[in-house]
């Protein structure tokens, strides 16, 4: 029975569209040159390898997502399966095909209150996919001028100040946010973003217990074994991702797509 249900789920998610792979650099994507980096939970001896990949310059906007639900009715607010998105799905939208009275203010802002299922479907419909946690973190390590700003306290400060500020009433347009070394906008300081394997970090609800688990990935009682205890903002991203389930929709959680080469 359980397998049957899983199969159904794969069908529902997988069949949404059929797009041919494009060969030239797609519009509004940049090339993130591969390399290695040491995530916060690692030690110097275990850098993570990331292959060169393409990533959207901006997070997906409300206007873009509106075009998506126009084309794919099953992802509309009233039609979406509860299994794939909780009741706050597109909460701030007025209806299935309306952004509401503040449309002008939010059309170029990141779409939020979308589930992992819907984000994944969106990317697949564009012939893309969600970035992996490793890809996302690798790309987010870049400051304006450096691909790897891991030792740059000023760069961390930008994140810290964003994390410690409450959400604004209206998110700013994606183009207005911080542009990093790769030309990616808003990796830091705009919204949290869904990733493909968002809950693969072995973080349990009781975060302090994680450290006692014999696991490489943890996000626990702060910093035992963490590479750089000052980069506590990274802990927050891991903690945030770990608090999610795939059907959750959150008011400051958006997404962007990536693509393998």
């Amino acid at each position: 029975m359980i397998f049957h249900r899983l199969f159904l789920l794969i069908l529902l998610v997988g069949v949404c569209c059929n797009v041919q792979a494009q060969k030239s650099l797609p519009k509004n994507m940049v090339n993130v040159k591969g390399g290695t980096f040491v995530p916060l939970y690692g030690s110097d001896s275990i850098p993570v390898k990331v292959k060169t990949f393409l990533m959207d310059v901006y997070p997906v906007t409300n206007a873009e997502y509106l075009a998506f639900v126009n084309k794919y009715p099953k992802w509309r607010k009233s039609a979406v399966k509860k299994l794939f998105a909780d009741e706050n799905y597109l909460k701030k939208w007025d209806g299935d095909l309306s952004l509401g009275p503040n449309a002008a203010k939010i059309q170029n802002s990141p779409v939020v209150n979308v589930s992992w299922f819907s984000a994944k479907a969106y990317c697949e419909c564009q012939g893309k996919r969600l970035a992996t946690v490793e890809e996302w973190e690798y790309a987010a390590l870049a400051s304006e001028t450096k691909a790897n700003a891991a030792n740059d306290a000023k760069f961390y400060q930008r994140s810290i100040e964003w994390y410690s500020k409450p959400n604004p009433a209206y998110l700013p347009p994606v183009k207005e946010s911080f542009r990093n070394y790769y030309g990616l906008h808003g990796m830091i300081g705009l919204v949290w973003e869904w990733t493909q394997n968002f809950n693969s970090a072995m973080v349990v609800g009781e975060s302090r217990a994680d450290v006692t688990m014999d696991r490489q990935l943890f996000c626990g009682s702060g910093s035992d074994g963490a590479k750089d205890v000052k980069n506590y903002v990274a802990f927050m991203r891991y903690a945030f991702r770990s608090s999610l389930k795939a059907n959750y929709t959150v008011a400051n959680l958006g997404f962007r797509c990536a693509k393998s080469i």
Partner: protein, 490 residues
């Protein structure tokens, strides 16, 4: 045989998991699932009560029921910008909208159904670890809650006492440092002894980029937190939360109970009320009662209950007696006690007078005499001393060269008025002059004040003036001054 049993168990489990999955996928059915859970944990005869939650410094009313109950606690997490000190804002993460979080009051053996709601506007996931809970993470393992979600778990309050609760989401220290803590009181079955006033006071240390008092919205500073070097140490979430109009109050004769908590994250509090002795301290918030205590240690993540009778009126200052925190980082509160004085307990000030270590007969230290005034023994000395006196007393009006100011102050240089009668001039200096005079053909009608000069000094300054600026010269003696003063009284 064995294998088939295992297979059956697995099948049953699978069906179980499947059914839970179906239920949680639909909102209307989720409510039923919650209801079913409710039935399981609460026996039919146990009443269900919604917990009353209060903001500091208030606490919910004492529990009077004589039986256990099922208590539903609904606590909402919000992230809000609030005042840390005048002109200083901070983004506090809160249990219930302010720091410290809502006070929760339950009774031993109550069964608590705990709802943690994370506001949809929150930026971060949160959970709660209640030290009153026996179970994994004190509840944290069951309450990891993303923004816009709600989690529920229940626990039985096995041990009475005053307990801290706090957020334990990574990075744990930062969540606590942002104010995510509060107190839960588990009253013993027999209740706490009745008192007249109960208050909720909770200390916390805060780490901001800017030092104490630097204005603006201040971000959190991890380095200061790691160094355990707070910018602020405060009671109830901000500088001044318990002073001025926000001071705690009591009347003379009342018994006051303070539920004191310490959220930390780092510092241990030396809790003290200036001018009071705690009649009783429930040490560390537990069952041991210590008596007649001046300062009680409240560990980070710990608590204490202090009780004292307000004997006499006045302002009693609550401090962390690790004292620089009190006067330089904000850990100050106040209890205002009103009522009649009791002079036997405290007299107030009876005497205020000058203190003389040698006794009243000796008025001065042996070497404390003022230096003697220099006496002129000849004309040159008189001129020398007179020059200084002129500069100090005369020059502002009559000017450096004795030229005066036309129409206002008559000239002394080549002055016909002065040279015509030196003794009259001495009289003017000694007694002052008011009214119209004519000097060198000009009329002057102003006031010359009476100068406080001794005869010796007048002799010196007059000698100086008479020997300068074309005047007729000579030496004026103190004896001459004495005579002239008597003759020219105006």
């Amino acid at each position: 045989m064995k294998t088939s049993t295992i297979t059956k168990v697995v099948q049953l489990l699978a069906i179980g998991i499947y059914s839970i999955g179906i239920l949680s996928s639909c909102s209307s059915q989720t409510t039923q699932a919650e209801a079913a859970q409710t039935k399981e944990t609460a026996p039919a005869e146990m009443p269900t009560i919604m917990a009353e939650l209060t903001d500091a410094p208030n606490v919910p009313a004492p529990i009077t029921r004589k039986h256990a109950a099922k208590v539903v606690v609904k606590l909402e997490v919000t992230e809000v910008v609030k005042k840390m000190a005048d002109g200083v804002d901070y983004t506090f993460w809160t249990f219930g909208g302010s720091v410290p979080g809502k006070f929760i009051r339950i009774r031993q053996n109550d069964e608590v159904e705990f709802h943690l709601m994370n506001h949809p506007d929150s930026k971060n996931p949160h959970n709660i670890d209640l030290h009153a809970v026996s179970g994994p993470g004190g509840g944290a393992a069951s309450t990891f809650t993303a923004p816009g979600q709600e989690t529920v778990f229940s626990f039985k309050a096995l041990n009475p006492g005053l307990y801290v609760y706090h957020c334990a989401t990574a990075p744990v220290g930062m969540h606590i440092a942002n104010g995510m803590y509060g107190l839960i009181l588990v009253e013993p079955e027999e209740g706490l002894p009745k008192v007249d006033k109960e208050y909720y006071v909770m200390q916390g240390d805060f780490y901001t980029k800017g030092d104490f008092g630097v204005p603006g919205l201040q971000p959190f500073d991890m380095q200061k937190a790691l160094d355990e070097n707070p910018s602020y140490v405060v009671f109830n979430g901000s500088v001044g939360a318990l002073t001025g109009d926000n001071a705690l109050t009591a009347k003379v004769g009342e018994n006051v109970r303070l539920f004191v908590g310490n959220g930390g994250p780092n510092l241990i509090s030396s809790f003290h009320v200036i001018g009071e002795i705690f009649d009783k301290v429930y040490a560390e918030g537990g069952s041991t009662i210590n008596e007649n205590i001046q300062t009680t240690l409240v560990p980070a993540g710990g608590a204490a209950i202090t009780e004292f009778k307000a004997d006499v009126p006045g302002n009693y200052v609550l401090v962390d007696h690790s004292i620089f925190r009190a006067f330089n980082k904000g850990a100050l509160g106040m209890l205002k006690v009103e009522g009649n004085e009791d002079k036997k307990i405290y007299s107030g000030q009876i005497v205020q007078k000058i203190y003389q270590p040698e006794g009243s007969t000796v008025q001065e230290m042996p070497k404390s005499k003022a230096p003697a005034v220099a006496l002129a023994s000849n004309k040159d000395m008189r001129l020398e001393l007179g020059k200084t006196l002129y500069a100090q007393n005369c020059q502002a009006c009559h000017q450096a060269e004795g030229q005066g100011i036309k129409g206002a102050f008559p000239p002394l240089a080549k002055s016909d008025y002065l040279n015509a009668d030196v003794n009259r001039a001495i009289g003017v200096v000694a007694h002052g002059l008011e009214g119209q005079i004519k000097v060198n053909g000009e009329l002057y009608n102003s006031t010359m004040p009476k100068l406080k000069l001794s005869d010796e000094e007048i002799a010196n300054v007059m000698t100086y003036v008479m020997n300068k600026w074309g005047n007729k010269g000579g030496e004026i003696t103190p004896a001459q001054v004495g005579k002239a003063k008597a003759n020219y009284k105006h």
